[in-house]
Subunit: 260 residues, 2 copies
Amino acid sequence: MPARTASRDPAAGTVQVADAGPTPAFSPLYQQIKVLLLRSLQVGEWPPGSVIPSETELAGRYRVSQGTVRKAIDEMAAERLLVRRQGKGTFVATHAAAETRYRFLRLTPDAGGPARLARQLLDCRRMRASAEVARALELKAGEPVVEVRRLLLDGGQPVVLDDLWLPGAQFRGLSAETLARWRGALYELFESEFSVRMIRAEEKIRALAADPEAAALLALPPGAPLLLVERRSFTYGERPVELRRGLYRTERHHYRNELS
Amino acid sequence: MPARTASRDPAAGTVQVADAGPTPAFSPLYQQIKVLLLRSLQVGEWPPGSVIPSETELAGRYRVSQGTVRKAIDEMAAERLLVRRQGKGTFVATHAAAETRYRFLRLTPDAGGPARLARQLLDCRRMRASAEVARALELKAGEPVVEVRRLLLDGGQPVVLDDLWLPGAQFRGLSAETLARWRGALYELFESEFSVRMIRAEEKIRALAADPEAAALLALPPGAPLLLVERRSFTYGERPVELRRGLYRTERHHYRNELS
DNA sequence: GAGTGGTCTAGACCACCAC
DNA sequence: TGGTGGTCTAGACCACTCA
């Protein structure tokens, strides 16, 4: 484990990375391991869906006990960055797997069962970031972004009108053609084609009256109540890489949430 | 640990509770400990806010190692049933603590900072459960329930209109006077006066147009868009003990959510 | 200083999976 | 059969709290 320089006897005193400052800010070994694993994920050493080395091998590599590696991986599994599979190994989480494909989609049919929505691409263009988009994506105003507009339909009826903004620098080849050809989930495309993996998101939800444009696209009378879902998605290192503004019809669907 | 009957050598073979059925459904020791701890919580052996026995003492009581108790408590802490405090002990989670007082309230001012809402009780009456309320609370239609209606205000302006239904059997002394006198959060009252502790909740969120009654109470024109938040809260053993129907004004507030 | 939870290690064995 | 994660133990020491 390169970051750790202090000498250490087995089962002996405090272990700590070298640190010149006062109050060296104790950080447990397993947290330091976690940082190293995180870095490997971030630089793509182990791509989404692949197996990472076994606990024993990582323990050898970092010169710590298997239990310490285990605790680091435990936390990362709880954060849904890794997935453990007994007998097989530990895998990098991916939006491509069936279990996690629509992990961030909270819209649910009232009837029960998972949402099965068809997509209809309305627009995809490159433009300069407005002040609001720039702030959300931590860009400078005027930097290039990709704007996507699409509809999601359930049984032919429009249910969601989505607007997305993505940093242009990280989504260079993204075009209407790319999107039209793609069969899987958006986040799957982002992972496999642009090496951008979404790990968490924040949403702000409001009710509002449909404006004429949204009403027309969603086949509603203007003024009809809609759910506005504003999402900001983050990749490794808390970097925002997507702003999304969804308008949801909630006559036959709802936004499901779990509080604990 | 009374439930475990198989003989066991230290650091030796499989340990399992007695079980006559086929495929004995292996359950790890720490899960069995968890069940025992859960039962103690459920019967009120350790009330909300109190310390539970130390890991060492529990290990002795159940005849397992401290690490096994630790793992059971770890999971319960992750589920927010227990709270660990280094140097002090492990405590039963409570809605009375400042950190967890409004844990289930996702309404947030756009300006930032936590919501500081005043309450105004509109109604509190005992009645018979409608079919819908009975289904949600897993009662028989016609069984007694308590219905509460109240407003939440921010800076004097109404923001939330809440309707609550509670099983009458578990909230016997609950009345308008009780509610009017109470200063803290509702869930704090439920814990301390009725021994009902909410541990998780499900919410379904929709947008709808304000009906005349709601509009009047929320000082809005009829038809204005509102967030409808339907909550079902559960206590130990997945028993539903509250149905709540909240109408939220979202001009200056939003419902905040975190996806991971 | 005594007691609590928190970290770390080492070793044994079990459950699951693939070859 | 061998490798992976999963469980369990025992023991040492650290960090934190409070009297």
